[in-house]
Structure formats: C-alpha cells, structure tokens
C-alpha cells in the first residue's frame, strides 16, 4: 500500500530543490502534497480502527477536520485544526491564482512555507499510531 508520508517527503524535497526555478509553482505543489499526506494518513488510521478498507472515502474534506475539531478531545481537536490549516493552504495554492490577501501572496511563493507544512504533516503522521480515534469512529 502506498504510504502517504511519501507525499510529505516529496513536498519537502520540492521545497529544497532549486532546479525548479519557479518558486510559486514549487510552493503551491508542495502545499498540495503536504495536505494530502496528512489527510490520507488520518483516513487510513480511522479506517484501520473501523476495520474498513483504507480507500473508503470521506464525504468531503471539511467533514474530516470538522469532525475531529468537534470531538472535544484536545488531541483530536489539535489534529483537526492542523488538518484545517493544511487544507486552507492547499485550497489557496490550488485555486487562488491572485489572492487578495498580501499574507497569502507572500506565503504561496515562499518555499519555506511549503517545507514547513510538509514538516507539520510528517510530524502529525508520526504521532497517529498513538492516537485514540474512538470518539470519531463511524462519523466520517
């Protein structure tokens, strides 16, 4: 089975690889991979706990992080918030070619932001085996 962590590694490499001279394209691609790395890893962890196939989909992206945030368990709420942050960055990266907010204009062309999100995703994935997903099982 494909390991979603590999997406996070790719996101990190893209952040470092100066062969790609277009900083915005590099950063935006890295942000997309970072989000999908964590989202897929969380889905795998939940499906595993539910004894279901890892490929059983989730209705929509927001549903996953909202369910985690609403769990009331600080650990899962934090994971949900992290996922939400990565999702927001990925949304901006993929769909907002000319974001009106100066903050995003700068971030989307900064490979450090892409690398940071990749690291956040990797760190979160490494913690998942210790998480108890019981409060959200059957809800996503």
């Amino acid at each position: 089975m494909f390991d979603p962590t590999d997406f996070a590694d790719l996101a990190n490499q893209l952040g470092d690889d100066n062969n790609y001279t277009n900083l915005a394209a590099r950063t935006r691609t890295a942000l997309g991979r970072a989000y999908y790395a964590l989202m897929l890893a969380v889905r795998v962890a939940i499906r595993k706990a539910e004894n279901k196939s890892a490929d059983v989909g989730i209705a929509d992206h927001g549903h996953l992080w909202r369910t985690l945030e609403n769990s009331g368990v600080p650990q899962l709420m934090s994971l949900g918030r992290t996922l939400k942050d990565l999702y927001e960055a990925r949304q901006k990266a993929d769909y907002h070619l000319d974001p009106p907010e100066p903050k995003w204009l700068a971030k989307l062309a900064d490979p450090r932001f892409g690398r940071m999100n990749a690291e956040i995703a990797k760190d979160a994935i490494s913690r998942l085996p210790r998480y108890d997903f019981t409060p959200v099982l059957g809800k996503v």
């Binding site: 609403n70 709420m77 918030r81 690398r115 690291e119 956040i120 913690r127």
Partner: protein, 234 residues
C-alpha cells in the same frame, strides 16, 4: 439546375411525409393492449362505462382523438353478439365514409393511456393560467425572502473571551519554552505568534503540541473560533 430541381422535389416529399404521434400511439396500443388491460387499476373504471365507445386514430380526426372513446366487444353489460354487431356497424360506416382511415377498436388500457397523453399535451401547450402565474409569483417572492434572510446575520458570531485566550497562549508558551511576541487581532479573531530561537522545522514539529496546549485550556467553540498562526521570528 437539375440539382435545384432535385432538391425542390426532395423538400416537397419531406413535407408530405409526416410522423403522426397519435398513429404511433395507436400502433403501440394494438401491439400491447392484450397484456396490459388486466393489470391496470383504472381498467375497471373505464369498463364500467355504459355507452359503447370507440377510438379513432387519424391525422384528420384530431377533435375526436381528444376524447376517450372505447369500444370493446368482450366487456360490458351488453351481450357479446350485440356489441360485436354494433362494432361491425360503426366500423363499416366509418370505413365507408373514409376508406383509408385506420380504425382501431377495443383496447381499454392503451386508450386510457392515450387520453392521458392527450391531456398532458393539452396542458403543456395551454397558455399559463392566472393561477399558475400567481403561484410562480409567490415562489419568486419566497426565493427573495430566503435570500434576504441568508444575507443577514444567520450565523451567530461567538463572543470570544480574549482573557481566556491570552491565558491559554501564556500557558502554551511556558509549556513549550518559547519566547513569543503575540499579535492579536480581535476583530478578525486572529492570533499570530512570532517565536524566537526556533527555525521553521522545530516550529513545525511543535505546532501540534501548541494546539494541544491551547485546546486543553479553551472551550471547544472558542478554540474553533480563533485562528492561530506561528512563524519563526526573523
């Protein structure tokens, strides 16, 4: 010139060949009525009609086609022989009047189905009635009202307890050993922390811990209402 004449001829012949939807219905009726009549709940109602009726199908008899005319020699209170005689008589008269006219007799269910189709076509082609226009107007007003309600403050904005947030930030920074300069935008419900002495990688690996610290102090709704951004201080 020859081409023009051929085209004209073709157009003329096209004009003459018309597909009559009622004729299509009548053919369908002839093919299937035997299987369907006994299955339809409305058959009994139609069969109870006392007067013998018949169905006409012909492009030149549109007025007659709008009626439900059924004649079945095998049903009804009239003895079979008499009804059959009546059918034969009517059929003969019609054939005499218009020898090319296809006459289809019998078949209750397809006749009912056809009458429904005719009613549907009539309803679809009828100019909009004042009643329908009034309903449409009401729907438009309702739609406007719903839009207006949605544009107004439907989502309740949570009143954030900023003292609680500041206490949570202080606790998180102490737990993680950070020196942080917090910028709090209460209007946008945004908190930005510039953390000294850490690089992006360290900060990335502590972000989940930071969230856990904050989430353990704040109530769930406040945690959800405020956005937190962390950056290494330059």
């Amino acid at each position: 010139m020859a081409l023009k004449a051929a085209a004209r001829k073709l157009l003329k012949s096209d004009k003459e060949v018309r597909l009559d939807p009622f004729d299509v219905v009548s053919r369908t009726r002839t093919e299937h009525h035997g299987d369907l009549t006994s299955l339809h709940v409305d058959v009994e109602f139609v069969e109870r009609a006392h007067d013998p009726k018949f169905y006409l199908f012909n492009a030149s008899y549109r007025a007659q086609q709008l009626q439900l005319l059924v004649l079945d020699p095998n049903v009804g209170p009239t003895p079979k022989s008499l009804r059959a005689e009546a059918v034969a008589q009517i059929a003969g008269e019609l054939a005499h009047g218009a020898p090319d006219m296809p006459v289809h007799l019998g078949g209750v269910f397809p006749a009912y189905l056809t009458s429904m189709l005719v009613m549907f076509v009539q309803a679809a082609t009828r100019p909009e009635s004042p009643h329908l226009l009034a309903v449409e107007g009401r729907l438009e007003r309702l739609e406007r009202a719903v839009r207006l309600a949605a544009a107004e403050n439907v989502e309740e904005t949570l009143e954030v307890d900023w003292n609680q947030v500041e206490a949570a930030l202080l606790k998180a920074a102490q737990a993680l050993g950070w020196h942080v300069a917090w910028t709090i935008d209460r209007e946008k419900s945004e908190v930005v922390g510039q953390v000294s002495g850490v690089d992006y990688k360290q900060l990335a690996r502590q972000k989940l811990d930071f969230y856990e610290q904050v989430a353990s102090v704040l109530d769930r709704e406040t945690f959800k209402a405020v956005s937190f951004d962390l950056e290494p201080a330059e």
